[in-house]
Symmetry: D2
Subunit: 136 residues, 4 copies
């Protein structure tokens, strides 16, 4: 799938994608980069971006990374996600870089780095496993 195909697909499966402003910025074998707009809704007291907002970006990035390789398998589901919060992000948009660690018949494993678009700080790192439904 190309960048524009991925972005068309995002709009189809995630009705909330407009609100979150997820957009695939680059797609190539084994890699994806996904941008996310941060709004007031994503903030925690003190002006920092909430953990669930970063989790959501990591999960969506892994999902799009896998689908860009195997096609539109809407039923792929997250089975495990491990996230480390590394640095308090400054206010501003985020970008996630996803790398395929494994793409098997039953499981796919992705590495996702989340950075601030403002100052390029690495703010979180996640590893996500998706279960891929059997082909019928």
């Amino acid at each position: 799938m190309t960048v524009s195909e991925v972005n068309e697909f995002v709009g189809e499966v995630f009705p909330q994608s407009k609100k979150y402003g997820w957009i695939a910025e680059e797609v190539r074998p084994g890699f994806i980069r996904v941008g996310m707009k941060i709004t007031e809704h994503d903030l925690r007291p003190g002006g920092t971006i909430s953990g669930p907002t970063m989790f959501t970006l990591a999960d969506v990035t892994a999902y799009l990374l896998i689908l860009s390789h195997i096609g539109k398998v809407a039923l792929a589901v997250t089975t495990n996600l491990n996230i480390n919060f590394l640095n308090k992000p400054v206010m501003g948009d985020l970008v996630a870089e996803g790398q395929l660690l494994k793409l098997g018949k039953r499981l796919a494993v992705c590495d996702v780095k989340i950075l601030s678009k403002v100052d390029q700080t690495l703010v979180a790192h996640a590893t996500a496993t998706y279960s891929i439904p059997p082909v019928k």
Copy 2:
């Protein structure tokens, strides 16, 4: 802290708590139970509850569990959260049961089980680590 003190605190620190309907249902040494209302906003295509919704409940439960033991330390932050999605939840409200595995000076580790209120199925399991700021 008692159940009502925890719930008062939830309203203060999480402006979005009303929307999510988080409510501490039971608080005792080493344990908390937190309920969450599920709305259309939390659904994924196919009628299932989204991963980020369950992540959010796990994170909030761990936070409230720790604060109910050490008092209102608003600066405690999640450093690591590992979540396994176990069974596709049926539509309906969720409940989380949090247990303290460790409460140290610098780190607290919590085990969180998320169940469906409809049929008591275990839908997700998380382990969360919070960093506790030094006392000044």
Copy 3:
């Protein structure tokens, strides 16, 4: 499988089981308790038990827990293991308590607590996912 069947099986698949002294002490639906002898080989400078020793006990416990439910499927393999080290163990034997969180057709997820046999302190907590090979 009964306790004695599990222990017979341990000897077959793990040639190193004698050295490690792994022994199933209790087996019932959804649960297993496995003891482990600690020797000088498992120590780190300072007299503490090494992380890899605890990882090994967690991994073996999850494996035996699954096999005690589905029978001898030697090809079940760990796909993910997340471990939190909670308290520095005193010198002495360990015991692990494993609980099945999920036993699906393709994946099984186990929760494992590791305690010191000396003072019952919880020293580590792990969550392990095993992939179960398809039945032919």
Copy 4:
């Protein structure tokens, strides 16, 4: 620390390092590469390398990566390690590549990839958190 300083240190703190053949092959800011010899002791039935062997390599790599940046702080301890086993390794030596994701005052987080030296397959991926003792 240089490669030879790291290797001298390995011999001091890990008496078992000779047996395991751990050797730092490259050390630079934010990065380390550590080789490991595989012996019969590390095998599982079927000729594959055991999970605990790969866990041990991931843990040692993270430890050496951190110490090469902050000096010999023997008391740094693993608090969390999450490992995904990706591909069954062929028989033969392993190499681990560690990258610092965060080096804070209290916590350091490392990303570790484990590859087969035989065919360069990525066999496992780990994320490890170490707690760093306060400077007195």
